[in-house]
Symmetry: C2
């Protein structure tokens, strides 16, 4: 039976060119992570569902890919769940494993599980795919990569500063112009206190997060629906209207929040981070955005979001500080701060702006022609010499017509073709053809190495 | 509720040191693949189950990890399958996706699906994890990496020769002493013909594959059980007893199989591959082993197996030629040949023999101390200068006691510590301490870069 080949929706194959581009992004990020002293770890694709469930909200539980138990997975299953069609509870009996949904929860699990082997503060990075059963759409996939760097075991804001330097350095190297937005969860808590609704912080932030999209009137309407009093809403207004440069805004915020201890602490932290960043010199814009919220469920301090300036796309990197991520796994009081590069969105930005270096497209530098057994043996030897000098070479495997071999070389964008015919064979040389200029030279392997290396 | 953290059995976390070691192996393999003109692709972790099922035998189907459908996965399920406990058929209704079991079937699917975008012969490599619901045991995992290189669209033996060169080069670079065993499926078919049992090739090879373990008498007993006549068994004996060096053995094999067309073709191919390999000069032992079978189900020509000489472990690399791998997906007549490095076994060999370069263990080159806000700001600036010169540096985030900071530096095996106290701050310098020699120097950032780069 012949099958029409396809892959699950929301997943992708990556061709050699796509891989070269993606590797360029990943390698740039990795190199910067390493320059900042972060060490790589990896965790399994499958985690126990007990590790994952309940960590991403009710919606997240539904979006987890669950792996059917091996063997007799029906044994011990509660039949009433089948009869009632209670698929969510039944899934927990049919499946004890799931695919990782992000890198943060597996990392928290890792830190707790290996805490006796780790040196704190622990600086780790992790670049691996994650899976979500989201409805696929443009720019949203069911399998995509996350690139995370976190420091756990230190509440110093020096970590925030270094992570912001990493963001600056990575996007500089990738030539993507960005704006970094900063906020602090304590400022949001302070705002809620200030307007007399300390228990409504989440409602407030969910609403004001939309101010750019829907305008202040609609935000106020939403705040009313969420049960905020008119007094609270009117006292929120001056905060949302704060303007000026960063230091002017910080000053006004400080004045407004002066009665809230937590709010003042948030402003102080923001000041320290911004001063640190300015002190070391960053190329990217850094801005304060009091409406920035991001994954409020576990952030407790600094909140970071990065936007690309030249492409309309969602945030391409984000992060923040969390004070109790490992608590659910039994390790209390470990503060951490991390950032996550959205590799797939960065890839989209790089593609849109065509920011890749040109030489990325090439893999092989030299293709040796093949005109028969003797010539191929000679080519194999010479190719080996070139490779010893670090030059990527391949021997065309079949003694096909020269046209077919050259067509292959052209399609593969090979910069040099080494022709070995009868006369070259007799002399122990190759005719090296530069595919850009058309220039041909009769050369020994050693001479060819020089030409190729110095083009 | 506090959860005791754990991971699914048969899976592993990789610590920074383990990652450094694994990256060393993967990077070595990748570098050699690229030197030979192979381009990287990646395929999704999840494939449609229809792509995977039936490709690995009945046992393989059971060992596939199946992913529960999202949403109402019970809809449309045949209830009699639940009542009868027919878990295998039911799984096919509950799950339409599975985790990839190897890289070969996804690659065949890839070639067919993208055939109009590919240039043949297509040389691809792929390094990704695969998943099997095998019973975990020492050296056998449920998640492990494969590193495959294949050429499809060419039946030239030049491909075999280049793949054998790759094997030689990779293990040379990794400093693992190996023996490469070669055989050819056509020789096995010729042997079956020669002993008058052309339909028993698989029975014969399964039996003679065990000759080293159980001896010839037990092999003969097994052949009897598998229905071979005494005449067949006695005519097999001289083949198994062939000795001498490779060329002597090839000659004797040729004489014995002279009446079998396919057998003679197999010997001719072996001769050509061995001559090609010898002609280009390989460091590894290459030997002929007529009892070598390996995954007979799809190999049709050359068969390759690699053993480590200094560690008792199963084969660490294998491969061979297949003539119709893409046929099941609708593309006939595409010959391919490939090799697969068993990264996890290679990792075990490297660990046993401690073959890693020493500098692997280090990530950060310099740790800056932190004695307070001003000193930290200065450290952040100087660290940035060092990083611009490619030196990995980190700033200790907290202004803890010096003992604690030095303890961290020691545990992290950082080769240099940069101390910035009051006097260094005044001078705009650092005291750079070499952690191996204990030597200390007062230096500017630029001077420190020189010292660190030239140690």
């Amino acid at each position: 039976m012949v099958q029409k080949p396809s892959i699950p929706k929301g997943t992708r194959d990556f061709s050699p060119l796509e891989m070269a581009r993606r590797n360029y992004i990943f390698d740039t990020i990795k190199k910067v992570f390493r320059l900042y002293g972060f060490s790589q770890i990896e965790t399994p694709a499958m985690e126990n569902l007990s590790t994952l469930m309940g960590k991403y909200g009710e919606e997240g539980d539904k979006l987890l890919f669950k792996v059917l138990n091996s063997g007799d997975y029906l044994r011990g299953v509660d039949n009433s769940l089948i009869e009632n069609g209670d698929t969510l509870k039944l899934a927990a009996q049919l499946c004890e494993k799931g695919l990782r949904y992000d890198l943060t929860v597996p990392f928290a699990r890792y830190v707790v599980q290996h805490r006796n082997d780790l040196q704190f503060p622990f600086r780790r990075f992790q670049i691996q795919p994650v899976w979500r059963a989201d409805r696929p759409q443009k720019g949203r996939y069911r399998e995509f990569y996350q690139c995370d760097a976190d420091v756990v075991g230190s509440d110093s804001l020096v970590n925030e500063i270094e992570l912001l330097q990493i963001i600056d350095e990575v996007f500089n190297r990738l030539k993507i112009n960005i704006a970094i937005k900063l906020n602090n969860r304590k400022v949001l808590a302070g705002i809620a206190e200030y307007i007399g609704a300390p228990d409504k912080m989440i409602d407030i932030t969910v609403a004001i997060d939309k101010i750019d999209k829907i305008g202040i009137d609609n935000v106020n309407e939403e705040l009313r629906e969420r049960g905020l009093s008119e007094k609270s809403i009117s006292s929120l207004k001056p905060i949302l209207e704060i303007d000026g440069d960063i230091s002017a805004r910080l000053e006004k915020l400080e004045t407004l929040l002066s009665s809230s201890e937590i709010g003042m602490l948030g402003v102080k932290e923001l000041r320290e981070v911004i001063a640190g960043v300015e002190g070391t010199g960053m190329k990217s814009q850094v801005d304060l955005d009091v409406s920035l919220a991001r994954g409020l469920n576990y952030y407790t301090g600094t909140i970071i979001e990065v936007k690309a300036l030249d492409v309309v796309i969602g945030s391409i990197t984000g992060g923040g500080r969390y004070d109790n991520l490992t608590g659910v796994f039994g390790l209390q009081g470990v503060s951490g701060v991390g950032i996550s590069f959205g590799a797939d969105r960065i890839y989209d930005v790089m593609n849109t702006l065509n920011l890749y270096p040109e030489e990325l497209q090439q893999s092989t530098s030299v293709m040796f022609t093949n005109f028969g057994a003797k010539e191929a043996t000679c080519a194999l030897k010479m190719a080996k010499e070139l490779r010893s000098a670090g030059i990527a070479a391949e021997v065309y495997p079949d003694s096909s017509k020269i046209q077919k071999q050259m067509k292959y070389a052209n399609a593969a964008q090979v910069p040099f073709v080494a022709i070995i015919g009868e006369s070259e064979l007799a002399e122990g040389k190759m005719t090296l053809k530069n595919m850009n200029t058309g220039e041909q030279q009769l050369l020994t392997a050693e001479e060819a190495i020089n030409v190729i290396k110095h083009r």
